[in-house]
């Protein structure tokens, strides 16, 4: 490596080529993904998240929830994601095109949340979720700072959480979710990617082999 400038040039070229191949290559393939219009339903999928849900995603991101939850369902046969009720099909790139900061995550200390809003038989209600976020459980951290414990003035607020036991506030006080908590819950309950795009259909290996032989 005697030739300094050539060495530096070689370094940068190699690095740029690798970046272009992976990042720009993927961008070329997936950057222009449009929603899929279903003629039968007359609707396009995915749906844009509501404004509240979009803000909730930013709350999710800044609390670092991705450290414990993923939002990517694996395909049938590759893990037990379908059996656990996390989604009927694998997640594909089109599911994330309207998300400002997709939180696909890389760690499952807790369950996958990609289709949390469509849990069977019933996704948790907003009240249950808020209670969990406030008090935590033995395996989920609590986020009490997302809530405000304040003195009840006159009547208690309609938004006050119904808590019991150790988590309940002292007499005369109520726990009210802050805006961050409300948007976060709206986001979580909005998470749902039901539509089966053509590329998301599970592969039938026998068929693929047959077609491959032709």
């Amino acid at each position: 490596m005697k030739n300094g400038p050539l060495f530096l040039f070689g370094l940068l070229v190699s690095a740029v080529i690798a970046w272009s191949a992976i990042v720009l290559g993927a961008h070329g393939q997936l950057g222009g993904l449009t929603p899929w219009f279903d003629d039968g339903e007359g609707k396009s999928h995915p749906a844009r998240p509501t404004g509240l849900a979009a803000r909730g995603q930013l709350v999710y991101a800044d609390l670092g929830c991705a450290a414990g939850h993923t939002q990517q369902v694996r395909r049938p046969g590759f893990g037990s994601d379908q059996e656990r009720g996390w989604g009927d099909r694998q997640s594909v790139a089109r599911d994330y095109i309207f998300q400002e900061r997709p939180q696909i995550g890389s760690s499952r200390i807790g369950p996958d949340l990609a289709n949390f809003g469509a849990r069977k038989p019933q996704p948790p209600s907003a009240e249950t979720l808020l209670a969990l976020l406030h008090s935590g459980s033995d395996r989920h951290p609590a986020f009490p700072f997302l809530f405000e414990t304040r003195k009840i003035e006159g009547e208690s607020s309609a938004r006050a959480l119904k808590l019991s036991g150790k988590a309940a506030p002292s007499v005369g006080y109520e726990v009210v979710p802050s805006e961050r908590a409300v948007t976060l819950v709206a986001y979580l309950l909005n998470l749902n990617s039901p539509y089966v795009y053509p590329e998301a259909k599970p592969l039938v290996r026998a068929v693929a082999k047959e077609e491959g032989k032709k």
């Binding site: 005697k2 003629d39 007359g42 594909v92 053509p198 599970p202």
Partner: protein
């Protein structure tokens, strides 16, 4: 404390001055200041090792690349055939027809096809539904005005056009699907109505006033 501990590990290491260190290594790469310089060949065993790694990675890439296709998420998958998407998306005409019926027709003809006398004739058991395709298609494409007799009962109402160019502007595929659904559901006819036929009739007739029963009866 053992002699392993030394607070200044770098001192006193013989023959390892920075200069001699570099000189030794440069000799190995065969580049002396006055030499043209060429790299020595890799030792044979390393060459075999490198070839083995390249062969393995090439084989793996060949088998599991998914053809570098953006729609292939399963490494065993094949790229979709061109047009396969639209073919796959061409929903079952019955399902499409059912949707169209629910959105467009059910308001008047009712979800159960019973109609609403005296204005809206029933589709269930109607001889018009089980009869000629040509007449039925024209009713949808152009609309119908004037009285019509269905199952011996007179109905007087206005059927709007629903085909291309109308207020509903359904494409031929949707018109055909709706008719396929209606005929299967209430006349038990399995043969689908073809979208090509709908398009052909539309092309022939063009945009026109709603048909009347008298005109339709002239058709086969």
């Amino acid at each position: 404390m053992s002699s392993n501990m030394d607070s200044n590990p770098g001192r006193g290491v013989a023959g390892a001055s920075d200069d001699s260190l570099q000189a030794e290594h440069e000799k190995l790469l065969g580049k002396q200041p006055d030499e043209k310089g060429h790299y020595r060949l890799l030792p044979l065993n390393l060459l075999f090792l490198l070839s083995a790694f390249i062969m393995f990675s090439g084989t793996y890439l060949g088998r599991f690349s998914g053809y570098f296709h953006p729609k292939v998420y399963n490494e065993y998958g094949l790229p979709p055939k061109p047009g396969a998407d639209s073919a796959a998306a061409a929903v079952d005409p019955i399902a499409l027809g059912k949707n169209v019926y629910a959105q467009v027709c059910a308001a008047c003809h009712q979800p159960n096809g019973a109609g609403l006398p005296p204005a809206f004739p029933p589709l269930a058991g109607s001889e018009w539904v089980s009869g000629s395709e040509d007449r039925l298609i024209r009713i949808l494409l152009h609309g119908l005005q004037g009285p019509i007799k269905v199952n011996g009962v007179d109905y007087v109402g206005v059927m709007p056009a629903v085909g291309p160019g109308s207020g509903y502007n359904l494409n031929p595929e949707k018109v055909a699907a709706a008719l396929t659904y209606i005929r299967k559901e209430w006349a038990g006819i399995d043969t689908p109505v073809s979208a090509a036929k709908v398009a052909e009739i539309r092309g022939k007739d063009g945009t026109r006033q709603p048909v009347t029963v008298a005109e339709l009866e002239k058709l086969p």
